[in-house]
Amino acid sequence: MTTPTPTTRHSALTGRVVLYATLVALALIFLVPLAWMVITSLKTYTAAQQIPPSWLPNPVAGYGYEQILNNSANPVLRWFLNSMVAATLHSLLVLVTASMAAYALARLRFRGRGVTFALIVGTLFIPPTSLIIPNFLIVDQLSWIDTLAVVVVPGAASAFGVFFLRQFFLSLPNELEEAATLDGANQWQIFFRVVLPLSKPALATLAVLSFLTNWNDFLWPIFVLFSPEKLTLPPGLGLLQGSYVTDYPVIMAGAVLASVPVLILFVLAQRHIIQGVSRSGLKG
């Protein structure tokens, strides 16, 4: 390490300034559109049409929110609840099925383990959109069209979830399991009392990622849900755009409502989400 001369100290300072200027400029690019969504949702119809537009809603109007909350043709609150229930049940289903399967694949020995795992991982490479037509026929046969089940269950066959948890379970030390076995625990007890409690971070990550995916899903619900009271938020928002064509405070209020839960979830679980994403990137 050389001692910093005045010039290097000076250039370090310039470097800092350039760094923060870049960071802030980029942050504005990412945040201004989101801020504009919130600002517009708080304007009156006339204020939103104003040219040039004002940066602050003046007066702050509840108009956009009133419109969407009191309109029986577009029951946005109902869509919100549907989305909440669907995404919650969906991520629970993913957690239960994927953790059990991943445990068997990571820690138990049985015939067909290799083939089963290869089959599951193999489907990771098939674009889900290419299966949408046959999946539609299957849910149609099950009479699930336009029900809650259709947005909860099919997507829960998560190959990613199994893969992700298996990798995590493999990293747990075997000694814990052996100690539990010596105490007379069977596989179920080991799974519930040893492995699951140790895997809370991985389970939380998968739960959050599954919730986000389901909450944001758009392509599937627009084709399998159609009664106004059955919709989830994403197809509902599409409908909102259709009925309020240029009434942006109303449309933006709907968008804000769809964003708030996931943004809150993101802020709370930020580290888990970001870690989960990078883990999924490096490990398949």
Binding site: L19, L26, F30, L31, V32, P33, L34, W36, I51, P52, P53, M100, A101, A104, R107, L108, R109, R113, T116, T123, F125, I126, P127, T129, S130, L131, I132, I133, P134, F136, I138, V153, P154, A156, A157, V162, N174, E178, T181, N186, Q187, W188, W215, N216, D217, F218, P234, L237, G238, Q241, G254, A258, V262, L263, F266, Q270, G281, L282, K283, G284
Partner: protein, 321 residues
Amino acid sequence: MADVIEVGAARDDAPPSAAKAPRRGATAGRTGRATPYLFLAPYLILFGVFGLLPIILGVWLSVHQWDFQLPNRPFVGLDNYKQLFSSDSAVFGDWWQSVRATAIFTLLSVPLLVVVPLGLALLLNRSFPGRTFFRAVYFAPYVLGVAVIGLLWRFLLDANLGLVNRLLGVVGLPSDTPWVTNMPWAWISLVGVTVWWTSGFNAVIYLAGLQDISPELYEAARMDGASAWQRFRNVTLPGLRPVLLFVITTTVLASANMFGQSFLITQGTPGTETRTVVWFIVEEGLRNNNAGRAAAMSLVFALMLVVVSIANFRLFRYKED
């Protein structure tokens, strides 16, 4: 992508498994032979019905004329496929138009989605106060769904009321660009929005990769008098190779599956120029009641993606040698 998995799996297993592998699962016998299958059953039921069955059904559908409104679904052999490739069939034009739209979007968006996030990651990889905050800010749009992103940008890009044209006007640039209705603006908008929306995701993957590159390599390069660019070229890029391969492959797949952005922002316009393959497939299958043909399209499309992914791997291997 098997390569990436092997890399990951090897990294995970390597040190511990050498010692532990023989013992793993040694206790299974105590609970009975059925136990592993009971653990697997709930997942495998779901996976069988919504993961494997659709694949088989898809192939089966593609060789039948499957119309939801017809009582019979006659076997038609490869007819559905032939129609996609013979220029006198009714579907030929629209199908290839959608392939073209998807290809244009993919070719324009992938390079940006590989390079821009790498820049963000290099920026965020330096240590400075507030790093976590900026990382979260850049990632934030990604947690919003395409429905929200679509409505928001439809508004921001509106030629008259949109903020984008307003801001351009303020700095003295043309303020009447038809962002969502005319070419080439429609493609620029779709690509730009997608870069804005998903760059944070790829950046986080790069960041994880950057943290795995040994600092000693940089130290050694510095000792040899390597410039910043040379360090990037000879240490960072080779170190990121598996991550780059992953990012490119997943980004190509994601871009090729684009649907929501053009459905909501450009609404397929001008004409049907921005109607993508996925959109056309669901329209053909679910709106025009032509599930057999749509299934054939899905398979052809999936095959195209497989070819592209394989080409990707080849290119990367080649470059390395």
